[in-house]
């Protein structure tokens, strides 16, 4: 049993996410596409909230809607002479057909498979109050090795990004 409000919330958030993703494909200006991409990220964070994933929803807002979208805007702004229209190449027809076929297959499998013990309402109340403590203890407990490796990966990406765009005194890119 679920209240009507959260069901309406799910359909609204799903519609916003899918509509904004389609708009990223359809709009003619690259900066408008970035704006719709941010809207899709925010809608996805709302879908995380409907699944009781509060920590991930906030992390999604911070990392995707905050950091990655700023990076994208920077990249668009740092390429001023490049073509700003969000145009398609010759691969739009095969690419679109492949994507359509892929979506059909996924939807077919998701609906046809008997999800056995994964049945039930997705929107019902969970037994815990927050996921932050559990995710934190899982990160620093059984998954601590991957956690440390991720920190090394982030450092490597940081240094790599700086080295890539660094210019020495002669103005030559590294």
């Amino acid at each position: 049993m679920e209240s009507l409000g959260i069901i309406a919330g799910f359909w609204l958030l799903a519609g916003v996410t899918i509509g904004a993703s389609l708009a990223v494909f359809a709009v003619r200006n690259l900066l408008h596409a970035v704006v719709f991409l941010i809207l899709a990220f925010v809608g996805m964070a709302g879908l995380f909230i409907t699944l009781s994933a509060d920590f991930l929803a906030v992390a999604q807002l911070l990392i995707y809607a905050g950091a990655i979208s700023v990076l994208l805007v920077f990249a668009v702004m740092l390429t001023p002479l490049a073509n700003r229209d969000n145009s398609n190449s010759l691969y739009v027809l095969p690419g679109g057909a492949f994507a359509l076929a892929f979506a059909t297959i996924i939807a077919f499998v998701a609906i046809e498979v008997d999800w056995h013990q994964l049945r039930g309402d997705a929107l019902g109340a969970r037994s815990f109050s927050t996921t932050v403590a559990e995710v934190g203890s899982a990160l620093l407990g059984p998954h601590v090795l991957a956690f440390e490796i991720a920190s090394v990966l982030l450092l490597a990406a940081l240094v790599g990004a700086i080295v890539l765009v660094h210019e020495d005194e002669t103005g030559e890119a590294a």
Binding site: M1, E2, S3, L4, I7, T17, I18, S21, F25, L30, L37, M44, L47, T50, L51, A53, L56, A59, Q60, I63, Y64, A67, I68, L71, L72, F74, A75, L78, T79, L81, A82, S87, L90, V92, G95, A99, L100, A103, I106, A107, A110, W115, L118, A122, L123, S127, T131, E134, V135, A146, A150, L153, L154, A156, A157, A161, I162, L164, V165, A173
Partner: protein, 120 residues
């Protein structure tokens, strides 16, 4: 039924299940595929890749919502995996966008159709 739920506000036939989330994630993933395959601009291609990563995160969270131990407590391994996906996505976006800026500096374009340096 909880104390605060009114009898009118409960529906059984309309319940949102795992399939709904999987279909939404599949659609968003496919839109990401379409964008990544068919856009000319390298930055637009990166946007498609980010959408695909995001859709995969949604499936992780949806499956985690239903996974339980034998004693009924929830398992949040999927959430942990999503945290790592977020980390790798942030690193990937930083490096890839730096590469796009670098390519722009050398070639004055980020049009993937015109970046044919490796063509024989």
């Amino acid at each position: 039924m909880s104390l605060f739920a009114s009898p009118l506000a409960t529906v059984d036939g309309l319940s949102v299940t795992l399939e709904h989330y999987l279909v939404v994630a599949g659609i968003v993933f496919s839109i990401g595929i379409a964008i990544a395959l068919s856009k000319r601009n390298a930055i637009a291609v990166l946007m498609g890749v980010e959408l695909m990563l995001n859709a995969v995160n949604l499936t992780f969270v949806a499956f985690t919502r239903f996974s339980e131990n034998a004693d009924g407590t929830s398992v949040l391994t999927g959430h942990v995996f999503v945290v790592f996906v977020l980390t790798v996505a942030a690193a990937e976006a930083a490096v890839a966008l730096a590469m796009a800026v670098l390519v722009y500096r050398r070639r004055e374009t980020v049009d993937l159709d015109r970046l044919n340096l490796l063509r024989w």
